[in-house]
């Protein structure tokens, strides 16, 4: 396919004249039959790539995606863009609907599925029977960061890919160090894949860190930021409980329209909150990190981390949800001494001692059932004929890696120099010189006014309308 034709289709189908950075290159590589690993910053329209390629290549596009809520967002987004032949197979879909989806596979264009669901024999067999246009591994860094000790089915993806007849493969991620890229192509057995890598740097996001002495100060600083800086904002927390508590506190102590968002909400409430936020009916979302992965809101002005992210890569992804419209935006990380302990506790959840691993191997040999999550992870290794000492090494390496990542995160917080330089060198990129609108150096203030990020006029809570007039607004009748 010629360049002209591709651009014509872009105009015709999506109404754009230009591709976002990286999109064209990845699409043309795929059309040339090349596997591609694409590292494109958040907000560059990664879904357009497989949508576009899927339109041109005959067959089904299978998208492997890590989270149910993300898959639902992606399906809704494709529906929104007029793609009708889209479905997600998740653990939340009931058995009957799952069977129906598998039967209708030949008529589908896009199928979203988790690695755990994909390996189920019924699903795998059904997919094997249809022609595949493209296999997409979305959030491909999960292979490296979640595979070894959390969701080992990510490690089995290479084998699954072979069982699907090694189709054309696209690996997508927003942030990946050289090591992570290496892990991805190795695990998926695509050493020849084209690597299309764009800078993770988002110059329109001002980077700030607030060092605070305790929890109370952190809360107060949060409220101060949200009431003085421009919104819409997302505030990230490491626990569901905290999103609810702080959202409620903000609702009662400010005029802001605030909602909590986490995996514990019903699908309906998740939808409603996302759409309220998208349509400007909410100013602030207090969320766990899943929020925003599938969100297409271009004008988020502020991302605050109330708790530490787990890694710098996660941090870059999460703040990347700000300023997709290219306008000036702000990312603030709130830190109080001891916050790193939360990350350590989280890391320990996936830790396993040599003794535990040895004991679980015996369990496996005696064909005992899987008692807990750790055993479920280990089971993968035993089924794939790893030895105890190999697994001990993998778990050790992963824990050391996590400790290193935490140190890197703390270095970002504690640096006296340019924060952007720390991020960029972490991802192996050449740094850019610091300037006023780059980042907040230690001890400095955030220049809200200079950045053009002071809060707008105060919003008032909407007055209740009667159900009769609401009904009239919902259903427009020509009189």
């Amino acid at each position: 396919m010629q360049r002209d034709e591709i651009y014509q289709l872009l105009k015709q189908k999506y109404g754009f004249d230009e591709f976002r950075p990286g999109q064209y290159q990845v699409i043309s590589d795929l059309l040339a039959g090349q596997d591609v690993l694409a590292v494109l910053p958040t907000g560059t329209g990664k879904s357009l790539i497989y949508q576009f390629a899927g339109t041109l290549l005959p067959g089904l596009v299978v998208v492997i995606s890590p989270l149910i809520s993300l898959m639902q967002d992606q399906v809704a987004h494709l529906n929104y863009q007029g793609e009708k032949q889209v479905a997600a197979l998740t653990s939340q879909v009931d058995f009957q609907t799952r069977q129906l989806t598998l039967r209708q596979l030949p008529q589908l264009k896009f199928l979203f599925v988790s690695p755990e669901m994909l390996k189920q024999p019924a699903v795998l067999t059904a997919i094997q029977r249809v022609k595949l246009a493209l296999l997409v591994v979305d959030e491909a860094h999960c292979i490296s960061t979640w595979g070894p000790d959390f969701r080992p089915d990510y490690l089995g993806l290479g084998q699954l890919k072979q069982q699907l007849g090694s189709p054309l493969t696209l690996m997508l991620t927003a942030t990946a160090t050289a090591q992570v890229r290496q892990d991805i192509v190795q695990q998926l057995q695509v050493p020849q894949a084209q690597q299309v890598i764009y800078s993770m740097n988002r110059p329109n996001i001002y980077l700030a860190v607030a060092n605070l002495s305790n929890e109370a100060d952190k809360r107060e600083r949060l409220r101060q930021l949200l009431t003085t800086a421009a919104t819409p904002a997302i505030v990230y927390f490491s626990s569901k409980k905290q999103t609810e508590l702080i959202a409620e506190w903000l609702r009662s102590t400010t005029n802001l329209r605030v909602a909590a968002y986490h995996a514990g909400l019903s699908a309906e409430d998740r939808f409603k909150i996302q759409q309220q936020y998208m349509t400007g009916q909410l100013d602030v979302i207090c969320a766990t990190s899943a929020f925003g992965m599938g969100l297409n809101k271009a004008d988020v002005r502020l991302v605050i981390h109330y708790h530490l992210p787990t890694t710098l890569a996660d941090y870059v992804q999460e703040i990347g949800r700000a300023g997709r419209d290219g306008q000036q935006s702000l990312a603030v990380l709130l830190y109080a001494p001891g916050d790193e302990q939360l990350v350590r506790n989280l890391n320990e959840l996936t830790m396993a001692s040599a003794n535990q691993i040895q004991a679980d191997y015996q369990r496996f040999q005696q064909q005992q059932p899987v008692p807990d999550e750790l055993a479920a992870v280990l089971q993968f290794y035993w089924e794939h004929h790893y030895s105890v000492s190999q697994v001990v090494d993998i778990f050790d390496a992963r824990q050391r890696q996590k400790q290193r990542e935490l140190q890197q995160l703390l270095a970002y917080i504690q640096t006296a120099d340019c924060r952007r330089a720390i991020l960029m060198s972490h991802f192996g990129e050449a740094t850019v010189p610091h300037r006023e609108a780059c980042c907040q150096l230690a001890g400095g203030a955030i220049p809200l006014a200079e950045l053009g990020l002071t809060a707008g006029s105060v919003t008032t809570t909407p007055t209740t309308t009667s159900w009769k007039s609401l009904l009239d607004q919902l259903f427009l009748q020509k009189i």
Binding site: A259, D269, Q473, Q477
Partner: protein, 345 residues
Amino acid sequence: MFADYLLGLFATEPRRAKAVYNVCRGRRTVSTLFAGLTYQELAWLDSWHGVPLEKFEAAAQTLVEAGWLTAPQAGYWQLTPAGEAQQVKLKKTLYQPVAWQQFQQVDVRRFTALSQLALQVVSEYSHQAKRYYPVTTDPGIQAVVKGWFRRWRSADLVAMIVTELREFLTTLSTELATIFVQSLTGYEQPGQTDQQLAEQFNRSVVEILVIRKDLSCQWVAWLQAHPDGPLADLLRPLVKINSVSTSAWQTYQTFLQTPDLDQIAGRRHLKLSTVREHLLETAILITDFPFDRLLTPTIVAPLDQLFGSETAVSTWRFDQVQAAAPILDFFWFRLYQIMRCQRAA
């Protein structure tokens, strides 16, 4: 809180905890259904579908800690005097569902999802919006609504839907009608979440959940009484003629032709014990079960003698029957119990 509603399901006499929970969770074993009948809680059948047992247990534990429930024996709860007072208070202040019996014979949950999407589709259609995010991505729900919309799409559809909604909503209090409409999803209106409605109406989130479930049930009941419109069409395939399971109902139909249980077992290719369970289920769930066809005077006489004047059916013990009339097995005892409950009602 969920526990507030749970407290409403216990009484001053002991009730088997698991049976109460399983009635709510919609477990249709004969022993659960029988407990529902004797506790007069069949209206709650399937009303808390999908809620795990642990959640019930944890809620019960908070009621014990509050001093409202006590365990007269393991596995049973009964109200303490303070619990009884609390229950009376809550029944006055807490929203009480009025139409939950719909859960028994209508797939209310599925209808709620279909109705939510169908109303969104019509709302967007009325504004001529072509691109929007659907409220659910469930492919089964989407397919049904797509087919429905294709059948009903016409110049009058919007007016028909609005007329139906208005008529239904005027049967409700202003508060309930507002909650119903504010929770809808449509053009430029994602709808309010349960949390947002709770704050606005000064009720707890669980109360809003109960209200919305009850509103769905009331909406279902209204549509059954107005069966000609477009939304009733969406509901129709989800309504069963009664709450008896399909296989039990087939057994019952055979029974109406042949009262001989062995013959029924042969014809239906079922074990005798299954036939008996099917008949017990039917006897519990319908109001006009012909008990006399099975409970002949010979069977009833010894049971009447034992329990004739006893009205607390759930306190009767089978070992009393075994001592007095060893030829009667459990089936006859249970069927007699059901008959007595039904006749007392």
